[in-house]
Amino acid sequence: MGLLSLAIWTPIAFGVVLLALGRDDQAQAVRWIALVGAVVSLLVTLPLYTRFDLSTAAMQFVETTPWIERFNINYYLGIDGISVWFILLTAFINVIVVIAGWEVITRRVNQYMGAFLILSGLMIGVFCALDGMLFYVFFEATLIPMYLIIGIWGGPNKIYAAFKFFLYTLLGSLLMLIALIYLYNAAGGSFDLLTWHKLPLGQTAQTLLFFAFLAAFAVKVPMWPVHTWLPDAHVEAPTGGSVVLAAIALKLGAYGFLRFSLPIAPDAAHEWSGLMIGLSLAAVIYVGLVTMVQKDMKKLVAYSSVAHMGFVTLGFFIFNDLGVAGGIVQMISHGFVSAAMFLGIGVLYDRVHSREIAAYGGVVNTMPKFTAFAMLFIMANCGLPGTAGFVGEWMVILGAVKVNFWVGMAAASALIFGAAYSLWMFKRVYLGPVANDHVKHLKDINAREFLFLSLLAIAILYMGLYPKPFTDVMDVSVAELLKHVAMTKLN
């Protein structure tokens, strides 16, 4: 069994064991097994980084086995510089989520932990898959655990949110399914992604494929204006669900652009890049403004995720190495930062059971340690230099300025909105005098909460101060991708 298979199936195997054997009267044992499973799953992904060959853009750790021979579908895995960090990120966030759900979840613990472990394995599968159908199976299968997580452990309006999440995402994916089948036929009976990258396609076909993929990935990212499912899903999901959704699930869509839209339909991507840049800027600016007026903390972070993901898609569609690499860095840093933001809200929610900004005020007086963490995360969220949030946004803005000054300018203005909504929320929730009795009786974070918050804080600072390990890995692959996208596939 290869390393990638191990990375995918270890968490899934632990998850299945938990589903099969766990009982609520042995909740403590269930939690420990889940933690062991998550940590082991993280450990098995580490060699992917340490043994990664920086000098090549070719796929590494490749595994191929025929899977469904009738359709020439292969169990074909491999990673390059673009995907390697997402696998580690997924496994890392999974550990955090298990720790974060430790005491909070008391009902059906085994199903909660099992769902997250299985989900993490499936998402790693999405990042490794080099066969179109294998990708689709992993991509779609993630819906099932996420649907159940939102629906079972979610907030008051969870059912609406769960349905909206599922159906919205399914709508886009089904159009992608048709595109995959079309490509299979066009390629003479192959689902091999790398073959598709080389497949010559006419302009009309490319345009249709581009929009079919756009339907799937834009919903998942989510891009403006198909982002409306995200605030609902985030608000109603339990903390762990929000964390995984923001940190990893959104990246599946952005990753799809890099693996499918750009290399398979490069001419259409160039033709429609104006539209994509426009939508990205709308996300960055318009959604940035929308974020400012949110009264619900989770909603605020959800909208800010949409704005941040706008930077990612903006970076991809300006077609230079700074932009694309910046977009990928932004995806990774947003994985850490949004996870941290949602966990911070979770810490408050567990104590007060409210996400309203108005229900808080002066938290710093009763929870000084926690506020220190919160400040770091909020600074990272508005892209302060020295934190992870800065690197990606800065690279994308630089890249955009190279292409068109006004695009870069518009994107840069979003940093102001980011600072505005983040700092304003920080002021209203944490600073000032103690607002009410709830806040007065708050207890500061315990060792468990300290653990997962500090893990994220380290990651955020490390990435902000020394982003080289992150960018080094992707350089060659990004250059190769851009070279490929620059060539026309029209015949």
Binding site: Y136, K158, I159
Partner: protein, 495 residues
């Protein structure tokens, strides 16, 4: 001319017929309330028949018997094997349900099931229009009686009556169409009819006139729009065990009849019947999915969902004959076959859970009866969820690969129209996902409706768990079953 070779080809049918008669007599001496002895003998018979069929199928030979009246080929033998297994599973799930509802006062359930299975066998192996018709009649006549088996139950008797009237009408259509074809071609044998039409010397008008009736009759039996009206009423009204009996295995036989008549017999008319099937498919996908949303009764919901799934089967059937692409033919029909087999497997498990939740004096028919099932029994809830996700076509359940295969055949078969139809089909399955998800929601997100103990005999639990697991396992490794279907169809087309 009856020779030994002919007899060998119908071995399983002979065993089935003899045993059905023996069991009918033997049952007279059984007094047990649950008819355990009859049940055991029936199951043994079916197991032997299934094994024989699997054996025949693996031998891979095509044998024509009784002067070309019947054929024993790989596709037919696999379908017969699956149908036998489906009937076995149905009896396992349904026996206690039937016993609790006074349906086991005599052994009719078992005997009629065997006869209906025999009818399916004859349909599947028929190589002659009249033989196929006989099989259809044997199956449906047994089914009418089965539906009305609960004689003191108004709904059940009403459903039986409805089924009978509409079924008789459909049989009439079928027979009329056959007579037209007989008039035009001068033969009832399928290969001879094929050759006669292929020659191009027959009057096209007459042939198409007959074809319309045949397609309408088949559409009735399959239950596709606009010939679907009986499906919801019969599914709802029939005792649940019987619903499974008519909603499971017979779909396999109906598929075989479509292949035998339309493909093996009327392939030269495919340019006429393919658009007919397309219209039927579009209607079924739309009405089946839209009407299912409004249902609160789960049997009725699954009935409408059946209609939409048969629409998908038809999509595969209408993508076979593409000029210039002979390889598309096997691809399309095998995708339909895979769809039917996986659909039957899913139906068995979903009705199995419904049967399991029903108790003496209590029918678990409303969707709300599933409320909080996850808290009462995580296992059964998981099995039902796997069924529903499979029906909705979400990977990694087997239902996804069925849809994939059918859509691939559709897209491969042509140009823009087919692409648009494929988009339409996936949009309809998006609507389908909504109502399947609603049941998942009721099971997982709502508070439990009752606290009654969910108990089931060991055999039911074991078979149901295996059935549910198969949906997932075949979803993770679907290659084998797909290859089996492809191989069966290739052999059928080659002979």
């Amino acid at each position: 001319m009856i020779d030994n070779l002919s007899l060998i080809a119908v071995y399983p049918e002979i065993i089935l017929l003899v045993m059905a008669c023996v069991i009918a007599l033997f049952d007279l001496s059984v007094t047990s309330r649950t008819r355990t002895a009859t049940y055991v003998v029936t199951m043994l018979t079916l197991a032997v028949v299934a094994a024989l069929q699997a054996n025949f199928a693996s031998a891979g030979q095509t044998v024509y018997a009784f002067g070309n009246m019947v054929v024993s080929d790989v596709m037919g033998n696999w379908l017969k094997c699956f149908a036998t297994l489906a009937v076995m599973v149905t009896l396992v799930y349904g026996r206690h349900y039937a016993a609790e509802r006074d349906m086991l006062r005599g052994g009719e359930l078992f005997v009629l099931s065997l006869f209906s299975l025999l009818g399916m066998f004859v349909m599947i192996s028929g190589n002659n229009f009249l033989v196929i018709y006989m099989g259809v009649e044997l199956l449906t006549l047994s089914s009418y009686a089965l539906v009305a088996l609960r004689r003191d139950h108004v709904l059940s008797v009403e459903a039986g009556m409805k089924y009978f009237v509409l079924g008789a009408l459909a049989s009439g259509f079928l027979l009329y169409g056959m007579s037209m074809l007989y008039g035009a071609t001068g033969t009832l044998n399928i290969q001879e009819a094929f050759a006669a039409i292929q020659s191009g010397q027959l009057k096209h008008q007459v042939l198409v006139f007959g074809l319309v009736f045949i397609v309408a009759g088949l559409a009735f039996k399959l239950g596709v729009v606009p010939f679907h009206m009986w499906i919801p009423d019969v599914y709802q009204g029939a005792p649940t065990a019987i619903t499974l009996m008519i909603g499971g295995a017979p779909k396999l036989a109906a598929f075989a009849v479509m292949i035998r008549m339309l493909v093996e017999g009327l392939m030269p008319l495919s340019i006429d019947w393919q658009p007919m099937l397309m219209l039927l498919a579009i209607g079924s996908l739309a009405i089946g999915n839209l009407a299912a949303i409004a249902q609160t009764n789960i049997k009725r919901m699954l009935a409408f969902s059946t209609i939409s799934h048969m629409g998908f089967v038809l999509i595969g059937m209408m993508s076979g004959a593409v000029s210039g692409h002979p390889e598309a033919t096997a691809n399309a029909y095998s995708s339909s076959m895979f769809y039917v087999v996986s659909y039957v497997l899913t139906t068995l498990a979903s009705f199995g859970v419904i049967l399991l939740l029903s108790r003496s004096g209590y029918e678990s028919e409303e969707i709300s009866d599933f409320a909080g099932l996850n808290q009462r029994s995580p296992l059964y809830a998981a099995i039902m969820a796997v069924c529903l996700f499979s029906l909705a076509g979400i990977p990694p359940m087997i239902g996804f690969y069925a849809k994939l295969a059918v859509l691939q055949a559709l897209v491969a078969s042509g140009g823009t129209l087919q692409l648009v139809l494929a988009v339409f089909a996936v949009m309809m399955s998006l609507i389908g996902a909504f109502y399947y998800l609603r049941v998942v929601k009721v099971m997982y997100f709502d508070a439990p409706a009752g606290s009654a103990e969910l108990s089931a005999p060991f055999e039911v639990r074991a078979v149901l768990s295996l059935n549910g697991a198969l949906l997932l396992i075949l979803g993770i490794v679907p290659g084998g079953l797909m290859a089996l279907c492809a191989n069966a169809v290739v052999q059928m087309l080659g002979s």
